[in-house]
Symmetry: C2
Subunit: 236 residues, 2 copies
């Protein structure tokens, strides 16, 4: 069943924005009495369409039962990257269950924060909303940008840095030792990696450098690799 | 150091194709005595450039020491997909260590084998060669297309199907039970999944259906998810 996110509920009726209504009417060509799933406040509802060709009404039939995910909350802390790589990471990380994306300004980031940043955030939120719908999530990840490294101190939970310098501790050792954490924060470096001083600054505010093994991956592959692993580690 | 693959070696000299020579001279603007790594017959050599501006010579200085990977040989068996998705899978699966890509014709594949198939294979080989260079591999994955389901019987090693029908066995159970396999074959379904009869046919030739957990992923995300997991499972 097609899935949408709603921000407004009144009694047994849910409301969607104009893009979603267009999608229902014109792209999906739905009819009266067709059913969709609409998520409101992280709860999915089976809904029935009424009056599709005029002033469409979305009526709740009942709550849609889902099973809870059991992976920890994952916060990906990524540098600003070029548009295509950023879009790719946001889409795939959403599919793989990321809860929050925190953007930070790395010294080696090619991309700098510019005036049109609000526009970008809106675009990224749209990508994550669509990926959440497609992957049947009951929530949409948050995106928070852009922080300086020192601002990351306040994050709670396990704090990791993907480091090319670290040769001893790898992600497997760390995850096996930390099964009780319910939040995992992971910093991913820009192309060319974090500078030594940046890594040092992160260590001073509680981040632990870990290796991802011997593979050499592109920056945009790293978040997928990590999220796949976390899903696997907590699979039952 | 920049890395290239060579198909020809004579004494202490290695030969590259014209695209790579163009890359060295014009893109990288290298000079005499600059060093590169050239892989010949799965062995990487540190080489020195001579006579760059004329008839370039690539002289072997010594073998480049690398550590062996310890993951099993992974054969991804994927349906024909649209160009962009295929390119994406080939690039990322190469980064993550796939050894062989086997293409098969699924009933629900939108893409059919056409006359220009040889051209496509050449294009895909180029993508995998470049991804192998970037991720510092000493080999380039093979691509083999396109097989019918019954032709997959001859493959040796552990045989898995990513199945949305399977509710009991997941990839974690199977990998934990099969640590001694040195080859893993994994069939990934097309958009919309394998038909029940196709899955049945695969089971009859020794394939085991497994679930990938509760996430709903796009087809092109699945190979990355699986390869990340296998790298993790065999990480030391």
């Amino acid at each position: 069943m097609q899935r949408y996110f709603s921000k407004q509920k009144e009694n047994d009726q849910l409301f969607l924005d104009d893009n979603d209504l267009y999608h229902i009417k014109t792209v999906m060509r739905m009819k009266d009495n067709d059913e969709i799933i609409v998520v409101f406040d992280n709860i999915p509802y089976i809904c029935c369409l009424e009056n599709v060709n005029n002033n469409i009404k979305i009526k709740i039939k009942k709550e849609y039962e889902t099973t809870d995910e059991k992976i920890p909350i994952v916060r990906l802390i990524i540098p600003l990257l070029k548009e295509q790589k950023m879009d790719f990471i946001l889409q795939k990380a959403t599919e793989l269950g990321v809860k929050e994306i925190v953007l930070y300004q790395a010294n080696r980031s090619i991309i700098k924060v510019k005036d049109n940043f609000d526009k970008k955030i809106t675009r990224w939120q749209k990508i994550m909303k669509e990926a959440s719908e497609q992957s049947h999530r009951n929530d949409i990840p948050n995106i928070d940008g852009t922080k300086k490294i020192k601002d990351l101190e306040q994050l709670d939970g396990l704090k990791l840095i993907c480091s090319t310098r670290e040769k001893e501790k790898n992600i497997k050792n760390i995850l096996n030792l930390n099964k009780t954490y319910d939040k995992i924060n992971i910093v991913i470096g820009p192309e060319g990696g974090l500078e030594e001083q940046e890594e040092e600054n992160l260590k001073q505010i509680g981040f632990i450098p870990i290796s991802l093994g011997s593979r050499i991956m592109r920056v945009e592959t790293v978040p997928l690799f990590i999220l796949s692993i976390i899903n696997y580690e907590f699979m039952e």
